[in-house]
């Protein structure tokens, strides 16, 4: 019998306690200074804030790239494809394509580290949604340099537009 009352009491007390906790959170969300936790993000309307080191879609500088293949070798998933041509009457390579397959890329940033000329970095674009797999293949050599280097936002439109340009937008540092 004592246990019966104890069970009853503990049930009532702890249920009331739990309900009080949720009620307090309920009330706190109406505090104009605090608001709800999720109210800090207005993602589709405003871009989601990302940290300075955010590892988003790459930034790539075609003008300095020497096509040394270091990033492609470092990539654990082999998602970087570099097209290069020998420069006539000169040394080094001319980059004819620098494609990253974002259906494979896992944003580990291992490609950034070995680059001898610091031409590839992780950017802050986090959304590159597209309707076909074609959109996941981004050829940075055919993107406008501003977009590729992150001064303008990397966006699906630019990626789509880059597919129709036949020539790379710049020939690399040896041009």
């Amino acid at each position: 019998m004592r246990e019966w009352f104890r069970n009853l009491w503990s049930a009532i007390a702890t249920v009331a306690q739990g309900m009080f906790v949720t009620l307090r959170v309920f009330g706190k969300t109406y505090d104009q200074n605090r608001r709800t936790f999720t109210e800090h993000f207005e993602y589709p309307e405003l871009p989601a804030p990302v940290a300075a080191r955010y590892r988003g879609f790459h930034r790539y500088d075609l003008t300095t790239c020497i096509a040394c293949d270091q990033c492609a070798k470092a990539c654990p998933v082999d998602c970087i494809y570099i097209g290069k041509e020998r420069v006539e009457n000169g040394k080094g390579f001319r980059v004819s394509g620098f494609t990253i397959d974002y259906s494979k890329c896992m944003f580990c940033a291992l490609c950034v580290e070995p680059c001898p000329v610091d031409c590839i970095f992780m950017g802050s674009t986090l959304d590159l949604s597209c309707y076909s797999r074609d959109g996941t293949m981004v050829d940075f050599a055919r993107l406008p340099v501003d977009v590729a280097w992150g001064r303008a936002t990397l966006n699906p439109t630019a990626v789509a537009a880059s597919k129709v340009i036949v020539e790379p937008v710049h020939g690399g540092p040896n041009q």
Partner: protein, 401 residues
């Protein structure tokens, strides 16, 4: 309405009755459907706030107030699937059985003292009985789905709801005993006046039994922490695992309909029905019986009162749902048989003794235990205690005034 149709429009009797019935049914149906939409929206918002979120914000401009409508349209557009092994007829029938039960009970529910579909002198009994029919829909759905999870849900529902009828019945009987009638209109009328006339404050036993009623009501409409029939972490979705589209939404509407119903019943039985905590109408000198606009104002006030109380009850149920973990089936049964039933029984006995010992209440001047008998101007069957209703037991006979 029937009179209007036969005398003024000149229709024959049966046609008039049919039209009147259809009009009333559509009215009630829309009230339930509209109410369900509102409550689904409220559930989203309440749960969101409890969880430090905002809930729907975009649909329909601010506050996502069109969210339920959008959901409804989506559900309408969804394909109605039926598992291959399902019992076709029962599978299709189940949601409607479930919905009808919840819907029928609204007939006897008074919203203000003569705003009631059909005033019954056994309204309490009727509502409890009809509400109990909802379980058939669930059992049919679980059985007919040809899914093992659904079957588990159905078996649990059968065990649980039928058991909870017992303490629920006992809780409901207490106000009936105090009022001396099963007519919900009269029960509510007897609690008129200030809030200390409400039956929840009638004596300590009714106060306790109100909470037992809340527990049993939550259990009997399958809300968390007693939502064993659709325990999503164990049974995927329980009895409605295999349902989709509109059929599924009927279950949903039935659930919200019953939630509102049991809350409204709590309001009528314990919380003074349509009588506000402060008798505004009588303080303002408005009378429900006489005057040009006064009756309408009083009824509207009563309606608002009852809907507010019932909605509050529904919101409390949501609050409970988003706070507590779910019980196990044996614990649900133990709660019913080892806790709710004995407590309800003891409280019932206590309330009875209280009524015998202190017929005038604790402070005689404060409360009016008999209530103000206003049957004189009330339409329909008498609201007074029906002798014989409670004379089966000798002790009860003395209680009835």
């Amino acid at each position: 309405m029937v009179e209007f149709l036969t005398s003024t429009v000149g229709l024959s009797g049966w046609l008039a009755w049919t039209i009147a019935a259809v009009v009333s049914a559509v009215l009630v149906l829309n009230v339930i459907a509209g109410g369900a939409l509102a409550f689904i929206w409220a559930e989203r918002k309440v749960s969101a706030r409890i969880q430090d979120r905002l809930g729907p914000t975009r649909t329909g401009g601010r506050f996502g107030w069109l969210q339920s409508v959008a959901d409804g349209i989506k559900l309408l557009a969804k394909e109605d699937l039926m598992p291959q092994g399902a019992d076709g007829l029962l599978f299709r029938l189940a949601p409607y059985v479930s919905f009808c039960a919840s819907f029928c009970a609204f007939i006897a529910l008074p919203f203000a003292f003569d705003v009631v579909g059909q005033r019954l002198n056994v309204a309490v009994f009727f509502v409890v009985a009809v509400l109990g029919l909802e379980v058939f829909g669930v059992i049919l759905a679980g059985y007919a789905s040809a899914s093992k999870w659904s079957l588990f849900g159905a078996m649990r529902e059968a065990a649980q709801v039928v058991s909870y009828e017992v303490p629920l019945g006992m809780c409901v009987v207490v106000p009936v005993m105090i009022a001396g009638t099963m007519d919900m209109v009269t029960i509510a009328e007897k609690q008129a006046g200030w809030f200390w006339n409400w039956y929840i404050f009638h004596d300590p036993f009714t106060f306790v039994i109100f909470w037992v009623y809340v527990t049993c009501a939550v259990a009997s409409v399958n809300r968390a922490p007693f939502d064993l029939a659709e325990a999503e972490s164990e049974l995927v979705a329980g009895f409605h695992t295999e349902y989709s589209g509109l059929r599924w939404s009927y279950f949903f509407m039935a659930e919200y309909g019953s939630m509102f119903l049991v809350s409204a019943m709590a309001a009528v039985l314990f919380l003074g029905g349509w009588n506000g905590p402060v008798p505004l109408a009588s303080l303002a000198g408005l009378s429900a019986g006489t005057g040009d606009t006064a009756p309408y104002v009083v009824r509207l006030l009563g309606l608002a009162n009852l809907v507010a109380k019932a909605s509050l009850g529904v919101i409390v149920m949501m609050w409970i749902r988003w706070t507590l973990p779910r019980l196990r089936i044996d614990q649900v049964m133990a709660t019913c048989l080892k806790y709710c039933t004995p407590i309800a029984a003891v409280m019932f006995a206590g309330a009875m003794l209280w009524k015998i010992a202190l017929p005038g209440g604790l402070v005689p001047g404060l409360s009016r235990p008999g209530g103000e008998i206003r049957e004189g101007w009330l339409p329909g069957p008498g609201g007074a205690a029906i002798p014989g209703e409670s004379t089966r037991d000798g002790s009860l006979a003395r209680v009835t005034p």
